[in-house]
């Protein structure tokens, strides 16, 4: 009897009980005590994860008078944009008090050249290593793998010297180029892994057709790279925007990205710290990557996972 009913159900649903049938065959009964316990625990954890964001947001709208009362979790009595205005236009970073807008535009001007440079270099290299029989490709890939692990400090001073001799030290270009250089190994490995799955038939057909390295690259490979490009873009946008160390090391005084301004703001405090200003500045710095995250959440996971070794 039960035998029949199982096979009937399988036939009716059009699938045999294969791989991904969930463990508790989704008892439609509804809510068990365990469900409640799990959901309660997850909700508490989720609230804990939201606390910093909540605190930062509400603080940024408060007046300093209210902050001095010490009720960090309360909503603003008076909602004010004063802190936002101050952080954007007048906050001091070092000796200058031009606000975070300077750093914001610096970050933007670092981001774009760096994205173009790093992604184009890694795409071409990954393509050449994956699909053209370069004899030492294996050795080179191994080297890249090692380079991906190397801590930045070990190459920091030589890179400072190189950027100084090429006269780009202390400019946005230095920060952008160093980002591209440091990302090269990981991005190349990502592209190479993606391209090596391209069927050899496609490649041999393309070779018969024209055989030119660059034509194949631009007419076949680039159009096929959509998915991986998005993943790499997410990875690079977040890591370049959120970087502090490279910006502070190579940006000098004029090429500092937004994170460096923010760090100056929160670490160098003269007199009483205005937390509303600091939190507004923190939020301004966090908004661009958060927007990327909420727009492409699912791909974001792929992005950070793919490039995770970049740390």
């Amino acid at each position: 009897m039960s035998q029949v009913s199982i096979s009937e159900r399988a036939a009716a649903s059009g699938e045999m009980p294969v791989a991904r049938s969930p463990y508790f065959v989704r008892k439609k009964k509804g809510i068990t005590p365990r469900t409640v316990a799990i959901l309660a625990f997850l909700t508490i954890c989720a609230l804990f994860f939201c606390v910093p964001l909540y605190v930062v947001v509400v603080t940024s709208f408060k007046t300093m008078d209210q902050i001095r009362e010490g009720a960090i979790f309360s909503l603003p009595h008076i909602w004010t944009l004063e802190a936002w205005d101050h952080a954007w236009n007048r906050a001091c970073s070092g000796i200058k008090c031009d606000g975070l807008k300077v750093g914001f535009w610096n970050s933007v001007f670092i981001l774009f050249p760096s994205l173009i440079l790093s992604i184009s270099l890694a795409m071409v290299t990954g393509f050449a290593l994956a699909l053209w029989n370069v004899r030492w490709a294996g050795a080179f890939l191994f080297l890249l793998f090692i380079c991906a692990f190397v801590p930045f400090q070990i190459i920091m001073y030589p890179l400072i010297v190189m950027t100084t001799t090429t006269k780009i030290y202390g400019t946005l270009w230095a920060v952008a180029v160093i980002h591209a250089v440091l990302a090269m190994p990981v991005l190349t490995l990502i592209f190479r892994n993606y391209y090596k799955d391209i069927p050899t038939e496609i490649m041999s057909a393309a070779m018969m057709d024209s055989g030119s390295f660059w034509r194949i690259f631009f007419e076949i490979i680039v159009p096929m790279s959509g998915n991986i490009l998005i993943v790499v873009l997410i990875l690079q946008i977040t890591s370049i925007w959120n970087d502090y160390l490279i910006g502070v090391t190579f940006g000098g005084l004029t090429g500092q990205p937004m994170t460096v301004n923010l760090a100056n703001l929160i670490t160098i405090s003269t007199g009483t710290t205005n937390y509303a200003h600091n939190m507004a500045a923190a939020l301004l710095t966090a908004i661009p990557p958060l927007v990327v995250y909420f727009l492409v959440g699912k791909l974001f996971v792929q992005g950070v996972t793919a490039g995770a070794i970049k740390g």
């Binding site: 290299t125 692990f149 090269m184 030119s212 090391t249």
Partner: protein, 293 residues
């Protein structure tokens, strides 16, 4: 035909040049400098009678010892992110309700810069205006003044880094859990094995690969930890939250001692390889085994 052989090689030259100059060459350069007496400016003569002087000084430096100790503390503390990530992933995977909402909430800190993370937690941990005063106002006598005390400041850094990265490990674990054949669950259920034993004796061993990956990523992050230290404590109070990454950059920028900073950087590289070679070898071995079966 000949062109087709030259073109890819030509296309590879920029990447080769970057690898040779910016990575291999620079590593060699720094290693060389670590044996010199370079201070503010590089000196390229090596005094062979005392070539190891920078390392001698380094190992006798209390700041370096603190840095190493903090590295271990930070490593162990941050490992909580993996544990926490696994627990969250297991619960989300078990109870499919609200999966995407929870995933979104747990992962968002990863999108935020560690400087921002530091700024936020620094504010929450502010003893007079932050969470401590709030909770005391509610009548709970808690002590959250971690940042101002040398022996607890490291906990604050751990708290911030766990908050930032736990969602990431959750995402990796969730992917690992989804890869597990559901028949295992049914079989275990039929046998009446309690759920916690299923996890401990079947699921976790099956996810070895995911755990090793997480361990690699975690240790990499710990060795590189710099931003979060700057944002939370800037190394203080005193030297209590120094880590090797901070020590090295401090030796170069604040002390402007190039030879010393180079020696510390070489030690960082050594630590990286000591941690990674076994872990990476283990991963490769696991992968081979998996492919073979």
């Amino acid at each position: 035909m000949r062109w087709s052989r030259i073109a890819p090689q030509l296309a590879l030259t920029p990447a080769l040049a970057v690898t040779a100059v910016a990575f291999i060459g620079s590593i060699g350069w720094t290693i060389y400098l670590s044996f010199t007496r370079s201070r503010r400016l590089p000196e390229y003569g090596i005094d062979w009678s005392e070539w190891g002087r920078q390392y001698d000084r380094l190992f006798r430096d209390a700041g370096w010892e603190i840095s190493l100790r903090n590295l271990i503390v930070l490593g162990l503390g941050s490992a909580l992110a993996i544990v926490f990530g696994f627990v969250l992933a297991a619960m989300i995977d078990k109870e499919k309700r609200g999966e995407s909402l929870f995933r979104t909430v747990f992962l968002y800190p990863l999108a935020v810069s560690l400087i921002v993370t530091g700024a936020a937690w620094r504010w929450i941990l502010n003893p007079t205006l932050g969470a401590q005063s709030f909770l005391r106002g509610l009548g709970w006598h808690v002590d959250f003044n971690w940042l101002a005390q040398g022996d607890t400041a490291m906990y604050a850094i751990i708290l911030a880094s766990v908050w930032q990265s736990a969602g990431f490990y959750m995402a990796l674990m969730l992917a690992g859990l989804k890869g597990i054949n559901s028949e295992i669950w049914s079989a275990a259920k039929l046998d009446g094995v309690p759920l916690w034993r299923v996890y401990l004796e079947i699921i976790i061993p099956m996810m070895k690969f995911t755990f090793i990956t997480c361990a690699i990523l975690l240790s990499l992050g710990v060795i590189k930890a710099y931003d979060v230290v700057v944002a939370m404590t800037n190394g203080g109070p005193g030297q209590s939250t120094w880590v090797p990454a901070y020590f090295t950059i401090n030796a170069l920028s604040a002390k402007s001692n190039l030879g010393y900073a180079s020696a510390a950087a070489v030690m960082m590289l050594a630590i990286t390889f000591v941690v990674f070679i076994p872990l990476v070898a283990l991963t490769v071995w696991q992968q081979r085994k998996r492919e073979a079966s």
